[in-house]
């Protein structure tokens, strides 16, 4: 029901800014529990991608985050309803000026090394991450933090230069984690993560053999009693979807997350294999560099948006296994989104698009390169469809396929041009929008938008503690984004899992990460 998630968030934040502490509800961490769950067994998860390394502080690849959330924990858990649930924190309070967060830590938490966790470890870990000189991609998200204090062994106080309503969601599990104090004193600490895990999570690292397997074993001293249920999880790096399908059929693997939903068609009638669709916090977009060729003209950007039939692109790219979106990922639409019929430039209007181009002096159209990334199969069919659609208004698209490393370099250098993009988020609007659209130096402003009004709104949205006012701020931002489409958010692809029927109670988290394995269990 639309709005229900916002009420949930509103409730949480109302409590957050009130005098009393917000208490953790353990039953909600990592999804729902199954009273019938049994302990034991081993499973294998097939995956097309593998982490380049397991360093939760420096390695920003999604493949790393997918698995390291099982070994490492932050103060909060990114519940997909948009509520940050207390994880290593037991409760927290916010000062009336919203610039001081006081966290009470759980007691009895032990690292995989056997050491007990204390506030000194929490301070050390987050201080290390927020120090830009250490190079963590998560440092920028903590730029509002000025000091972390530890009045006692179970209390941590974050002092902020300005309010940051997204702080609890920032302290989740994407970047960084709580590790033992002075861990980074060793010169090889970063690469040691590949050999021994030092987190507080339900699984410990048993073996990491790149280009082959990653094996995790149950942490017997885990602080959530009775969890996890499964003794050992092996992530096998598989070469392609065909191999995953075959391995599921032949019981070589128990679970796989498919990157191309249409690949699961072959599994529909396989006995013992269930294919499930899950909502995601990911989106497929067309990004427009405001300094690139004719894209400098807002009328050209609007014309492109008006010529794009998102539904058709989605059908071509992912066989329709997803949902068309406006200006936000589908997993956050109910909580933070604006209904599509209230956003500009969402419906195809070729006459208006042609008029806009004519007004811009481009009545005869123009040539433009559209960049896609090698390995992102959905982009290939999507690019052909977009090229056909833009041809209708005279824009001649030349598809240019580049390697991911080159694409990232161009993106970071703000030289993206006209490109497809594939990005996800943790469920908070500030974490979704701020770094992408806030003008530099606070944001990265990858698309060279440099929009003062947008920057002011994104600052206000980050600082506003009242969720209702916050939603209004982000609604205004989204209307501007729709009107001046520097990023045409097309659709969110569903997450599709294929799983053997002996795997029970597995819920796929909307981020695409494997938190669901913590409360899953194996039938005989």
């Amino acid at each position: 029901m639309p709005g229900s998630r916002l009420r949930l968030i509103a409730g949480a934040f109302a409590a957050l800014v009130a005098a009393g502490p917000v208490l953790a509800d353990d039953s909600l961490v990592y999804g729902k529990s199954d009273p019938a769950a049994k302990n034991g067994g081993k499973i294998t998860v097939g995956s097309l991608i593998e982490p380049p390394s397991l360093d939760p502080f420096l390695q920003g690849a999604d493949a790393r985050i997918r698995v390291s959330g099982l070994m490492y924990q932050g103060l909060f858990f990114e519940d997909q309803t948009g509520v940050p649930r207390a994880l290593l924190a037991k409760s927290f309070e916010v000062s009336p000026d919203a610039k001081t967060y006081t966290f009470k830590l759980r007691e009895g938490v032990r690292f995989h090394t056997g050491q007990s966790m204390s506030s000194a470890d929490v301070k050390y870990s987050y201080d290390w991450m927020r120090d830009s000189r250490n190079g963590s991609p998560g440092a920028g998200d903590l730029s509002s933090v000025t000091e972390i204090a530890t009045p006692d062994a179970t209390t941590v106080v974050f002092k902020l230069a300005r309010p940051n309503a997204a702080l609890p969601m920032t302290l989740t599990n994407k970047y960084g984690a709580v590790v033992p104090k002075d861990y980074f004193a060793a010169k090889d600490a970063g690469t040691k993560f590949n050999e021994v895990s030092v987190g507080t999570g339900p699984y410990k690292l048993k073996l990491f053999r790149p280009n082959s397997v990653l094996v995790l074993e149950r942490n017997k001293d885990y602080w959530q009693k009775g969890l996890p249920h499964i003794d050992e999880v092996t992530f096998a790096t598989m070469p392609n979807s065909a191999a995953i399908v075959v391995a599921l059929q032949n019981r070589r693997i128990d679970l796989a997350l498919f990157s191309r939903p249409q690949d699961t068609e072959q599994l529909k009638n396989v006995p013992g294999v269930e294919v499930k669709r899950w909502p995601s916090l990911n989106q497929k977009t067309l990004d427009l560099d405001v300094k690139y060729g004719h894209l400098k003209d807002i009328r050209v950007r609007q014309a492109i948006a008006l010529a794009i039939d998102k539904e058709a692109v989605m059908k071509a790219s992912i066989a329709g296994y997803g949902t068309v979106i406006g200006t936000i990922v589908i997993g956050m639409q109910d909580s933070w989104g604006v209904p599509l019929d209230q956003l500009a430039n969402q419906k195809v209007d070729l006459d208006r698009a042609k008029k806009l181009l004519a007004d811009a002096g481009l009545a005869d159209g123009f040539d433009i390169d559209l960049t896609t990334i090698i390995g992102y199969d959905w982009m290939d069919a999507g690019a052909v469809t977009v090229a056909e659609q833009l041809k209708r208004i005279g824009i001649r698209v030349h598809i240019k396929k580049i390697e991911l490393g080159v694409w990232i370099r161009n993106f970071r250098a703000r030289e993206m041009g006209f490109t497809f993009n594939d990005w996800g988020t943790t469920p908070d609007p500030s974490l979704l929008y701020y770094r992408h659209f806030r003008a530099a130096p606070q944001g990265a402003d990858f698309r060279n938008w440099n929009n003062e009004k947008v920057s002011a709104l994104l600052d206000a949205g980050q600082e506003e503690p009242d969720p209702v006012k916050r939603k209004a701020i982000y609604a205004e931002f989204q209307k501007i984004l729709a009107d001046d489409p520097v990023s045409i958010m097309m659709f969110s692809a569903d997450l599709i899992t294929g799983q053997r029927d002996r795997l029970k109670n597995y819920d796929q988290h909307a981020t695409g990460w494997y938190f669901g394995l913590i409360k899953a269990w194996l039938a005989n």
Binding site: T44, G46, P52, S53, L58, Q59, G60, A61, S132, R133, N134, G135, S136, P137, G138, A139, G140, D141, Y175, D188, G190, T191, K192, N194, R209, P210, N211, S212, V213, T234, A236, T237, M238, P239, N240, A242, A243, V246, A247, Q249, N250, R252, I253, E403, L404, G405, V406, W407, I408, R409, N410, F411, R412, R414, R435, H436, A440, G443, A444, F446
Partner: protein, 314 residues
């Protein structure tokens, strides 16, 4: 002999140095580096970026980076993987063992199948047997190895309800499991290489059998078996040995495809993942190793020439 060895070693050293320099410069000319990969779509914090560049030594001039790498390499240290932290020599050696196992197994099967087929086709030139073997050669040479691999994978699943295990197991630990893992990749490569062998041996054999000494031998009344195997086959050994060397190097080069297709942690995948992740020490170390292997193979072939034909001894 000493002069021969010294000349070969000197030219090998020059080849290794030039190829190392080429790999070094090529890797750095590809846009993007490990720092941009690690930071991805996170913010554009210049301090973080500069800190990481300094950590990996990427803030130094390219010539200084090359001089450092070369100095360390000459002392036997290929550095450490930027992602994994493990010594490149260890990573390369572990991966090489996997690739070498596939290469040797492929070579053995391809030789055992391809050479007899080629000889048979050559002897039976123009017959139905020749046509059938040539059809096999055509199929093996024209079907891409990834397609053969995929068909074997899907076929084994459909017909036998079987698929290979996913985690590589060295033969020294569990031979049966190891065979289960490498059988499909080896068969995929063997089909191609056996066809290549057969095609080559047939053509060489046909040419050889048309030579005058063969006619003279037959006219003298020698048994056909003696003519074919004692004279003709012996004379094609030199081009065959050259061909084996080329095949071995080709298998090493083609390992990227087959290792990626079957998730084998060999040299090809090590290099590919190193390039994708811009892990310069791994790519430089692994490619230097491949170059050295190619040089060693060529060197051994040169020595074999002398063994086969005393007139070619240095």
């Amino acid at each position: 002999m000493f002069r021969f060895l010294a000349t070969r070693l000197a030219s090998a050293a020059v080849a290794a140095l030039l190829s190392s320099l080429a790999v070094f410069l090529l890797m750095r000319s590809v846009p993007g580096d490990i720092v941009s990969q690690m930071l991805g779509q996170s913010g554009n914090d210049r301090t973080a970026e500069e800190a990481l560049r300094g950590f990996f030594g990427l803030d130094r001039p390219v010539w200084a980076q090359f001089a450092d790498w070369l100095g360390a390499t000459l002392s036997g240290d290929l550095g450490r993987s930027w992602y994994q932290g493990r010594a490149v020599t260890t990573l390369v050696w572990e991966a090489f063992l996997v690739t070498a196992e596939i290469a040797v197994a492929t070579l053995v099967i391809a030789t055992l199948v391809g050479v007899p087929l080629g000889v048979l086709a050559g002897i039976r030139e123009g017959t139905r047997t020749d046509a059938a073997i040539q059809a096999f050669n055509l199929l093996g040479l024209s079907a891409p190895v990834f397609w053969i691999g995929l068909m074997l994978l899907v076929g084994a699943s459909a017909l036998l309800e079987w698929s290979p295990p996913f985690a590589y197991m060295p033969p020294s630990v569990d031979l049966a499991e190891n065979i289960n893992i490498i059988i499909l990749p080896v068969l995929s490569l063997s089909l191609l290489q056996a066809a290549a062998y057969s095609h080559f041996v047939r053509d060489t054999m046909v040419t050889e059998l048309r030579r005058e000494y063969v006619r003279a031998a037959i006219a003298k009344g020698l048994a056909p078996r003696q003519v074919y195997f004692k004279h003709a086959l012996r004379n094609i050994l030199i081009p065959l040995v050259t061909f084996i060397g080329l095949i071995l190097i080709q298998i090493l080069g083609g390992a990227v495809v087959i290792e990626s297709l079957f998730s084998l942690p060999g040299l090809g995948r090590l290099i590919l993942s190193g390039i994708q992740g811009r892990d310069y020490p791994v790519v430089q170390g692994a490619l230097l190793f491949v170059v050295l292997i190619a040089l060693v193979v060529n060197f051994v072939i040169d020595l074999l020439y002398g063994l086969i034909d005393p007139r070619l001894r240095p």
